[in-house]
């Protein structure tokens, strides 16, 4: 049977196993939308802004490990998708964005709703395609999914001029058995020689640290990571993107590292003699001043992307390969090796880390000591949330202090449960991302922890949540300010709060949630917090927006001292440097 371009697209998406498409229609995408109307393989979720579509597809992908798909029209639809593409690109998320384009003969003529989508998205995609022949659509879709999901994953754009989906032009559907691109062959297995070298270096260390990032989660290598450390018994830290890659409850887990990492994790990095970096990229939010980074450490760096290795910090032993395969090889080599790690030195090292933890570690029982306090501490909100959900929820977040508090105080024991925009730091990510997660896991608790600043950047998606009945729980940590901005102004700009406060013009979030057909709850006292959370979580089939007014003067600590600081230089409280 011959199919139109739109129907070819549907078939191709179906064959990729797509279950949801997040999108928003418009002129250039109307043929495609007509094909969507006629198919049953997947559900189309109509968002309220294309940014929401990209974040929702992205959230779906982060939670499931499968690629997410968004569909937008040309021009403003395409440009609205740019923030979502950049967000996915920075965190290496396999996202497919299909954009309608004006008809081929109009391209380049400044026609109505024409934007050079390939051009504007070029620096923030892994790859992009423009459809030139309708019959290429199945191949292009197949290649797009292949590229997005293999190697270091990333977003791919497929730009489709309207005439290529014209329902009157029909073509045969052909699907290749296998995709092979001569210019794209990502490495899977590590070099055995490098594995041997790494094994030797690791087993002769006295102060090793495992520094594991989002690559472990993207590469589905969390089990291997745990097995590796069953052998090594080394302290482990996760990046913001890596939280959940190593179980937080494990005794070797030190918490997050970096800018707002724990004291013990940052101290361990600084004092390590061998750092085993796994699927992490030495981001500037981790290393602090690169020339002052871990002065005595040899670096073993495992990553699927060779360009991530020795980009910021020189790797002594680079290992290029999929994280899963690389760790499996390393485990095998360690088991086979005759070198035994100096267990006395290692015990001392782990003891040292406990001492650091005791000295300046995070207080995970703050909710007990603050029970009588007048104002609610934002950290306590996260702790109460952790208890209310038994640590089992999918938690999405936005950007700011609230995001850091979740990263610090919600203990993630499983991968793909913590969903946040780490690389780009996109305010507005949390709610649409939660929609994608909830669609994928309707029976699981999905919580969006946000700030009153961030939530207003994609608040319109509350309407989508009503349409598709997505009972997400939104916890708005309301400090009546762009808290993270204000924190920097407190610390570096003499407390001049330039354009970071708006307490007299905030919406009534309870009424706002209600006007969207949801339930709103407001908490202003510590004594109401626990009960309100319990009540909200008991309402299984309703979206509940919980507006929690917190102490506006809280800062996030620890915080690396910058500029000209190393990882051991931290603010521990407002007035003390460690």
């Amino acid at each position: 049977m011959k199919l139109s371009g739109g129907d070819l697209l549907m078939r191709a998406l179906k064959d990729e196993g797509v279950k949801f498409i997040f999108g928003y229609p418009g002129g250039a995408a109307l043929h495609i939308y007509d094909s969507i109307f006629k198919q049953k393989a997947f559900e189309h979720i109509l968002v309220r802004h294309e940014q929401g579509a990209t974040h929702a597809a992205d959230g779906y992908s982060r939670a499931t490990g499968k690629p997410g798909v968004a569909l937008v029209t040309s021009g403003p639809g395409a440009t609205n998708a740019i923030t979502g593409l950049a967000t996915a690109y920075m965190d290496s998320i396999p996202l497919i964005v299909i954009s309608g384009q004006v008809q081929s003969h109009l391209i380049g003529t400044d026609s109505f709703q024409e934007t050079d989508m390939i051009g504007i998205s070029r620096p923030i995609v892994k790859h992009s395609f423009i459809v030139q022949n309708t019959q290429d659509i199945p191949r292009i879709v197949q290649e797009a999914f292949h590229i997005a999901t293999t190697g270091r994953p990333g977003p791919v754009v497929i730009d489709i001029p309207k005439d290529k989906t014209d329902p009157s032009n029909l073509y045969e559907y052909k699907r290749a058995k296998e995709i092979s691109l001569r210019s794209y062959q990502p490495r899977i297995f590590p070099h055995p020689g490098q594995i041997k070298k790494a094994c030797k270096k690791i087993l002769s260390s006295e102060r090793p640290v495992i520094y594991a990032g989002g690559g472990v989660i993207l590469g589905n290598a969390h089990k291997e990571l745990v097995s590796l450390n069953k052998l090594l018994k080394a302290p482990v830290t996760n990046t913001l993107m890596g939280l959940g890659a190593y179980p937080a409850k494990d005794k070797y887990f030190m918490g997050m590292l970096g800018m707002h990492g724990t004291y013990q994790a940052n101290m361990a990095m600084h004092n390590a003699d061998v750092i085993i970096a796994i699927g992490a990229r030495f981001d500037d939010r981790i290393t602090n001043t690169p020339s002052m980074f871990a002065p005595n450490a040899k670096i073993v760096h495992v990553d699927v992307d060779p360009a991530s290795i020795s980009k910021i910090i020189n790797a002594d032993i680079p290992i290029v390969g999929q994280v899963k395969e690389s760790l499996a090889a390393l485990i095998k080599e360690i088991k086979r090796s005759k070198i035994k790690i100096d267990s006395e030195a290692l015990d001392n090292w782990n003891l040292q880390i406990s001492k650091w933890r005791e000295k300046h570690g995070l207080d995970h029982d703050l909710y007990l000591s603050k029970i009588k306090s007048a104002m609610i501490a934002p950290q306590v909100v996260v702790q109460e949330l952790y208890h209310a959900t038994q640590g089992n929820a999918f938690v999405t977040s936005d950007v700011g202090q609230h995001q850091m508090f979740v990263a610090q105080y919600y203990h993630f024991n499983k991968p793909r449960r913590w969903i946040n925009s780490g690389g780009l730091g996109t305010m507005g990510f949390g709610l649409p991302a939660a929609m994608g997660v909830k669609l994928a896991f309707p029976k699981h608790e999905v919580v969006c922890v946000t700030g009153e600043g961030s939530i207003q950047m994609c608040i319109q998606e509350l309407s989508t949540c009503l349409q598709y009945n997505l009972p997400i729980k939104i916890i708005n940590i309301n400090n009546e300010a762009l808290g993270m901005v204000r924190q920097w102004q407190d610390m570096n700009y003499g407390g001049r709060h330039s354009a970071s406060t708006y307490s007299d013009s905030l919406p009534d979030f309870v009424k706002l949630a209600e006007s969207y057909g949801h339930i709103g709850m407001k908490v202003t006292k510590q004594s109401q917090l626990k009960k309100t959370l319990e009540k909200a979580f008991s309402m299984k089939d309703r979206l509940v927006f919980i507006d929690v007014y917190v102490d506006p003067n809280e800062h996030v600590y620890p915080m690396l001292v910058a500029p000209n600081g190393s990882m051991k230089d931290m603010w521990i409280t407002k007035n003390t440097k460690a």
Partner: protein
């Protein structure tokens, strides 16, 4: 240090823009650029000259390699290599310019009462020297091909 990168890319729409864009995006400069289809025309060979430290070039090479349309990248300056550049010049008749170009395999393409068009080729350092000594006097216009080059010896860059 000057580097000459040879890049094989798929001859597809937008492929060139991806490579050129990347230099800007990652904060590197392109000094010269040459590109044209080779073999069956399904792919092109680009030659880019740039400047940077060992580390810079390693990074840029890896980043270029990551572009899906890029098939292979090779740094010619890593080993012995041949490198040439071709130029065309239109100038007001001048013995001096004619002589300089003659010394660089110069060839006359057009000659009339006031002006001449000549081409020349040589190593890019010779070309640089020639362009400097030609100066501005009598020079009407100039076009440069940018460097192109090949590895010396048995090493070849092909698919």
């Amino acid at each position: 240090m000057k580097r000459i990168l040879s890049i094989l890319i798929e001859n597809k729409p937008g492929a060139l823009a991806r490579v050129v864009g990347l230099f800007h995006q990652r904060g590197y400069n392109i000094e010269t650029l040459n590109v044209g289809p080779v073999f069956d025309g399904s792919y092109s060979r680009m030659t880019v000259t740039t400047r940077g430290t060992e580390n810079d070039v390693e990074q840029i090479t890896k980043q270029i390699n990551k572009i899906i349309d890029v098939i292979k990248v090779s740094d010619l300056t890593e080993g012995d290599h041949h490198e040439y550049e071709f130029i065309m010049i239109k100038f007001k008749r001048s013995e001096k310019i004619q002589k300089i170009l003659k010394s660089l395999n110069g060839k006359i393409h057009e000659k009339n009462n006031d002006a001449m068009v000549m081409s020349a080729w040589g190593s890019s350092s010779d070309i640089e020297v020639a362009i400097k000594s030609i100066g501005k006097v009598n020079l009407l216009e100039i076009a440069r091909s940018g460097s192109i080059g090949l590895h010396e010896g048995e090493k070849v860059l092909k698919i």
